[in-house]
């Protein structure tokens, strides 16, 4: 250390550099290294606390392993073995399987030679762990050999089952679903659970199981099932779980039966955590059987059951089951994707590559069916593909590749339409891989995608081919979304082929279509969001076939509209295209063209550029206006251009226009195109928004540069940018108006100030019309030349304008849809966040524990920094601080240390407490920050947090502000409506939780007080009873023995005790009267001083006994209208207290009087009352001192206060511990009620 090669970091010493470390190591002779490692390892082991060993397990185990050969002591060997296993488990948990394997191997090498007899359990677990790691690192052969050998060594059925579970995973991972399934099936057989041998027996067996389960569930609730307790059956559920995926892929017919058997097993033997999954999957079986209501109910029951188990994995699994197989039967597709995402991540994290793979496929499919634009879809697929490859999950990776090829096919990137082959992929190789692995889901998906692609490209025969070849996996687990999609396309295909089909085929098609229509009708009833458009389109096609033209027209529209509303752009395109065919077949060419144009636009929006090209090829007349390859750009300024109409440039412009879906961009592009192609120097676009024309953008050519800028939808009337008279005319006639030279005398715009100012010469005002409706106006000006806007230009403009009209509408629809989607996503995120927060808050009544968790949740989604402060008395106490960026920890600490929360400060939390309203500060200037902070240094520290938006919410419950929730974000303007609303809802939940916890504490406190009171009361009542009883017994005994049994003094004692009892009972009665609101006063004129004297006289005995004199200070009689006996009681109580707690020092009673009030002051110099008890001394059952010391029920001051309040007076106390207390009572001379009565007379 002296030479600087070692450095001290805190309490640790480290090498200056890795090089120094290496050099030092090389200085140790190789032969001595094992001993050195061993010594270091032993040192670590002996010095580190247990927890630290866990943290540094790899280091400790590695050091010891390197010196392993030198260990001879069996005890130390066992210890190291345990460390190695711990290191291996830790590595496995973090998916570091090769490290895990290394440590397991170390541990195995340390097993004693007789391990299989001496430490069987450990040896078995080790081998199993090794087998698992073997397969997870891809060494399948070793894994299989190891597990095969292990099976011979297993001692119990349960252990054998354990091996089968692992083997099933292994086979499954290497794509051998058949082997995986038979491993599980044979293991299940050992527990008496059997499956029929033949395919045709499966359906009957399933029907029977379903009927039995239905009957059982009719009388029992899932939640009421007992727990599975039989230890030898405990592994059966794991077998069912392990067999699920293999069954689906290897023997799909048996898959529903598999889960039905699992559910029956649960009903018969009790439930366990796996049962949640059984019910969830069985729900999907029911859904596939069309029992959607029952399926949804059972899935809900599974979700509830999962909540009863503290097993996040199962919860996720059940939720993902619901999301992948049930959710789309009741909710919009978009909402089924978010719940799966965490399941995928969790499956990856825990190394369950099988589940992760399946989820990847299902999720990718949901994205596909959701109408995700294809380029975006491709990115989603890429993500899943990357992780499938990472985990060597080849069949899943291949299947994801297949889905990518479908996308490529629609984009025209594959070798042929409806083929998925290209340089990188062949269908044949794909099918070989997945069939070889018996991954039937992959085969099914190939057929379905093929069918879909062929249909889209109008190759109905190929589509039918694919549909009819559907492999066995379809229908077995028919509750997956892709099954439904397959049915939809298959039906569409048959409908499309109907007219050209043979008589015989027609009959079969018609039957299938009717059946499918009914199935879709039921689906659409259960979930209109997902299925109404499909059902409408099928119905439309049936109506077309049946020549119910009017129905067909209506149904096509409904299908298009529904698809659009649900955001299913692909179905919208299909609907439009089918409608176009329908009209064309009936000879309505114009309508058909309009529909195909719309279909083209929809396909384009979807991103199916291959299909768009196909449409253009099939409809050259339409292609002429919208398609063709873009030519080289032409020069852009007016002066340089010929007057010739340049069709290509217009086509290019209109293409650019139609590729913009966002209104703002569209407007800019449009104006650019107009300026470029129409010879204008200035252009304005006005669009109809909310029923009136509003200026959206202005574009100007200056110095050969075209610039456009957006206007914030200014009402046209309020703007001088466009002559309103022209616009009015165009609006009413829907015809363009051209002025050749506005500057010439007598022109219509001679008097228009805007036009004059701009020296406008050529002017054109052009209506943009869609159907019969005006959607906007284009206004063009040229200030250089007159007569620029010729009829040729008008043609150009008309082409552009029609494109504009369509694009504007699309963009508006898209914007509306996005808005709806954003609102829906926000609502969903909000609900999920609040649900999580609610669950966290409800998990414990200890908010010291829950508030930090909530704060941490906030910094995951809502803020970069979150604090929660709760009021305690008048001070705010910080219960939680959380932040996202670890680098600001020191700043936050510094802030907390130097600027603790102090009431009365101008900091935002206190402002929120004062105003009781939320406070949002966005992007504050240094001055604003300074205003809310204590001093410049404080402001500087806050600024260092680099937060740009702040939001404070009062925590309000039952009208009280209990504290403040504070959020800070680094994003500018972060606390807009959504985030602030969410923060508010969160604040409400936090407040309710805090309030509940407090109420609970108060209730607990009240219960404790009551118990203490009962204890005290029994003590207090028994004490006088004791002496009374003894005296009487003494008398009885004396009487029997004819001797005096008690002296007169003792009889006095007895009398005093009855007096005490009377007082106690009286107090108890008073309390119950007060509680019943029945403390009645009998008012009369009372003279306070003489009453005081009488009381002093009466308690002189007591006063003498306690050794304290009572001194009366007064200046003469005080008359008041009071209840004599109650005032007596009040004074007596206060004086008795003063005597009891007065430490035998003098007590002063001062009676004074002002105009309308009498004042009673009782002062003692006794033990005093601790400050924290002061606010409570007048409460029921409270007493200032600890219960054990002094007699009394602790009701005196409570009754005193009630008496004072009944008289309309006030009582207060000032006290200091060790110095004494002063009680002050102010009594109105006449009670308020009386005054009111007197006043009214």
């Amino acid at each position: 250390m002296r030479s600087g090669l070692l450095v001290r970091i805190g309490r640790e010493v480290a090498f200056l550099h890795d090089r120094v470390h290496e050099a030092a190591y090389s200085l140790v002779p190789p032969g001595a290294r094992p001993d050195a490692h061993l010594a270091i390892g032993r040192l670590l082991l002996s010095r580190l606390p247990d927890r630290a060993i866990d943290e540094r397990i790899f280091e400790v185990a590695t050091q010891l392993n390197r010196g392993r050969d030198r260990i001879t002591d069996p005890g130390e060997k066992a210890l190291l073995r345990d460390l190695d296993v711990r290191a291996a488990e830790k590595a496995r948990k973090t998916a570091a399987y090769s490290s895990a394997r290394v440590y397991f191997n170390h541990a195995a090498a340390l097993l004693p030679s007789n391990a299989w007899t001496a430490v069987y359990g450990e040896a078995f677990a080790l081998e199993l762990g090794l087998g698992e790691c073997d397969y997870l690192v891809g060494d399948f052969a070793t894994a299989e050999a190891r597990l095969g050998a292990l099976r011979d060594k297993a001692r119990s059925e349960a252990d054998r089952a354990r091996i089968e579970v692992t083997r099933a995973h292994l086979y499954q991972l290497s794509g051998r679903f058949g082997d995986a399934w038979s491993a599980v099936r044979h293991a299940l057989e050992r527990f008496g659970i059997t499956f029929p041998a033949r395919d045709d027996e499966v359906a009957t067996a399933l029907d029977q199981e379903v009927a039995r389960i239905r009957a059982e569930l009719a009388s029992r609730r899932v939640a009421d099932l007992p727990e599975l307790t039989a230890p030898d059956l405990r592994l059966v559920p794991a077998l069912f779980i392990a067999g699920g995926v293999p069954a689906y892929n290897a023997w799909p017919q048996a898959w529903p039966l598999h889960w039905a058997k699992a559910v029956r097993f649960t009903l018969e033997h009790g439930r366990c955590v796996e049962s949640c999954t059984f019910f969830a999957l069985y729900a999907s079986v029911l859904a596939a059987r069309g029992e959607i209501k029952a399926a949804c109910d059972l899935s809900d029951a599974a979700l509830r059951l999962a909540d009863q188990y503290d097993d996040p994995w199962t919860k996720l699994q059940v939720r993902s089951c619901d999301a992948s197989q049930i959710s789309h039967w009741r909710r919009h597709l978009a909402s089924s994707i978010p719940p799966i995402a965490p399941f995928f991540a969790a499956a990856q994290e825990r190394g369950d590559v099988v589940s992760a793979g399946i989820i990847a496929i299902i999720t990718a499919w949901s994205w596909l069916d959701k109408g995700t634009p294809l380029d975006e879809l491709r990115k989603v697929q890429d993500d899943y593909l990357a992780s499938a490859r990472e985990s060597h999950n080849d069949v899943v990776a291949q299947t994801l590749r297949l889905m990518q090829q479908y996308v490529a096919c629609l984009r025209g990137k594959t070798l042929a339409p409806a083929s998925f082959d290209d340089d990188t992929f062949t269908e044949r190789a794909f099918l070989e891989t997945v069939s070889g692995a018996r991954f039937l889901a992959g085969v099914s998906l190939h057929r379905i995608l093929k069918e879909m692609a062929a249909f889209v490209y109008g190759r109905f025969d190929e589509a039918l081919d694919a549909a009819e070849q559907k492999p066995a996996a379809l229908g077995a687990a028919g509750s997956f979304l892709y099954e439904a999609t397959h049915r939809f396309y298959a039906a569409l295909t048959k409908a499309a082929l109907y007219t050209q089909a043979s008589e015989e085929q027609r009959e079969a098609f018609a039957r299938d279509l009717r059946e499918e229509e009914q199935r879709h009708a039921s689906w659409a009833r259960h979930c209109p969001d997902n299925f109404r458009d499909r059902h409408a389109l099928l119905s439309a096609e049936i109506a077309r076939i049946e020549r119910r033209d009017l129905d067909a027209e209506r149904l096509y529209e409904a299908a298009i509209e529904s698809a659009r509303r649900s955001g299913f752009v692909q179905n919208e395109a299909l609907g439009l295209e089918r409608a176009s065919c329908f009209y064309r077949a009936r000879g309505f060419t114009l309508t058909a063209d309009a529909y195909i144009r719309e279909a083209r636009a929809a396909y384009l929006r979807w991103g199916a550029s291959g299909k768009v090209l196909a449409i253009d090829a099939a409809h050259p007349d339409i292609a002429e206006t919208v398609a063709a390859s873009p030519p080289a750009p032409v020069s852009g300024t007016f002066e340089a251009r010929s007057e010739q109409l340049d069709l290509f440039s217009v086509v290019k412009a209109s293409q650019t226009i139609s590729s913009e879906f966002e209104l703002e961009k569209l407007v800019g592009t449009l104006l650019g195109a107009v300026l470029e192609h129409c010879g204008a120097r200035r252009a304005c676009l006005a669009l109809v928004r909310d029923g009136a024309l509003r200026l959206m953008a202005e574009g100007v050519v200056a110095e050969r540069q075209t610039t456009t800028h957006l206007l914030e939808a200014v009402p046209l009337d309020a703007s001088a940018l466009v002559p309103t008279s022209l616009v009015d005319e165009v609006t009413s006639t829907k015809k363009p108006v051209i002025i050749d030279d506005a500057a010439s005398p007598g022109s219509r715009l001679e008097a228009d100030p805007g036009a004059v100012e701009r020296h406008a010469r050529s002017v054109l005002c052009y209506p943009i019309v869609r159907g019969a409706e005006l959607v906007g106006v284009l206004y063009l000006e040229n200030d250089l030349a007159s007569g620029v806007f010729t009829p040729e230009r008008l043609t150009t403009l008309s082409l552009l304008a029609s494109q504009v009209a369509i694009s504007v509408e699309n963009a508006l629809a898209l914007a509306a849809e996005r808005k709806v989607r954003i609102v829906a996503q926000e609502a969903e995120a909000r609900a999920a966040f609040l649900a999580d927060a609610g669950a966290t808050l409800a998990a414990s009544l200890d908010y010291e524990e829950t508030l930090p968790q909530v704060a941490r949740m906030c910094v995951r989604s809502l803020a970069d920094v979150c604090t929660i402060d709760v009021l305690e008395g008048a001070e705010l106490r910080r219960y939680a601080v959380a932040h996202r960026d670890p680098s600001i920890t020191p700043i936050l600490r510094e802030l907390e240390r130097r600027y603790p929360l102090r009431s009365g400060s101008r900091r935002p939390p206190f402002e929120v407490l004062r105003t009781r309203a939320p406070l949002v500060v966005q992007d504050p200037s240094p001055e604003v920050i300074r205003r809310y902070t204590d001093d410049d240094e404080h402001a500087r520290l806050v600024a260092e947090l680099s937060l740009r938006s702040f939001c404070w919410w009062p925590l309000r419950a039952r009208g009280e502000v209990l504290g403040v929730l504070a959020l800070g974000s680094r994003q500018k303007e972060h606390y807009h409506e959504f985030a602030v609303g969410l923060a508010g809802e969160l604040a409400t939940r936090v407040a309710v939780a805090v309030d509940n916890a407090r109420l609970y504490r108060e209730a607990q406190h009240a219960i404790r007080l009551r118990d203490e009171f009962l204890s005290t009361a029994s003590h207090e009542l028994r004490t006088p009873l004791t002496s009374l009883q003894l005296v009487i017994e003494g008398l009885v005994r004396g009487a029997r023995q004819m001797v005096p049994g008690a002296s007169p003094a003792m009889l006095d004692v007895a009398l005093r005790q009855t007096g005490r009892l009377t007082t106690l009972v009286g107090q108890l009665l008073d309390v119950s009267r007060i509680q019943g609101g029945k403390l009645r006063l009998e008012l009369e004129d009372v003279e306070l001083v003489s009453l005081g004297e009488q009381i002093l006289e009466r308690i002189r005995v007591q006063s003498a006994a306690s050794g304290a004199p009572i001194r009366l200070h007064t200046r003469g009689p005080i008359w008041g209208h009071w209840d004599r006996s109650r005032v007596d009681q009040l004074l007596t109580n206060l004086l008795s207290n003063a005597l009891v707690y007065g430490e035998r020092r003098p007590v002063d009673l001062t009676l004074t009087c002002s105009d309308d009030r009498a004042r009673i002051e009782v002062r003692d110099e006794g033990i005093g009352i601790p400050e924290d008890r002061l606010p409570h001394v007048f409460e029921r059952f409270e007493r200032a001192t600890s219960t054990r010391n002094f007699g009394g029920l602790g009701l005196g001051l409570f009754i005193a206060r009630e008496i004072v309040q009944a008289h309309g007076g006030a009582i207060s106390v000032v006290s200091k511990v060790g110095r004494g207390s002063t009680f002050t009572v102010d009594l109105p001379l006449r009670s308020v009620a009386e005054e009111v009565a007197a006043g009214s007379q």
Binding site: S1015, S1018, R1022, T1023, S1027, L1030, S1047, R1188, G1191
Partner: protein, 136 residues
């Protein structure tokens, strides 16, 4: 104070100590137990009782109340047990608390719950304070 016709001489008997803050109980118990021929020493709290024990008093039994201002019964018992010279003196908890029995058990003493019968009290006094003949 009272005639002690059938009582044996006080020298045969150990005195009784009563520690209770309630003056009435002290007065009555003292009178009745004395009437049976036992000397009674009273104290109104634990520290008063300790003072008397430290001055050499060795009662046959200490009747101990729990709730007292000043030093309470529990504290007294703990100190008494800790002092070897006093630890062997039997203690009976005399309490009106509902959980008096439980406290007594935790302190390793018998208990007599208020209100008690005179005979029960005297039984305890006789058991602890009568010096048995064969020892005498």
């Amino acid at each position: 104070m009272m005639a002690m016709s059938q009582a044996t001489t006080p020298t045969d008997r150990l005195p009784v100590m009563l520690v209770d803050d309630d003056a009435a109980i002290r007065e009555v118990v003292e009178a009745l137990v004395q009437a049976e021929g036992y000397a009674v020493v009273t104290a109104s709290d634990g520290s008063e009782a300790l003072t008397q024990l430290h001055s050499g008093l060795r009662p046959g039994v200490i009747l101990l109340d729990l709730r007292m201002p000043g030093m309470d019964g529990q504290t007294f018992r703990e100190i008494q047990k800790a002092e070897p010279a006093l630890a062997t003196i039997p203690v009976v908890i005399v309490s009106g608390d509902r959980d008096g029995c439980r406290v007594a058990a935790s302190l390793g003493t018998e208990s007599l719950l208020k209100p008690f019968k005179l005979d029960d009290l005297l039984g305890i006094v006789r058991r602890f304070c009568d010096v048995s003949p064969h020892i005498a």
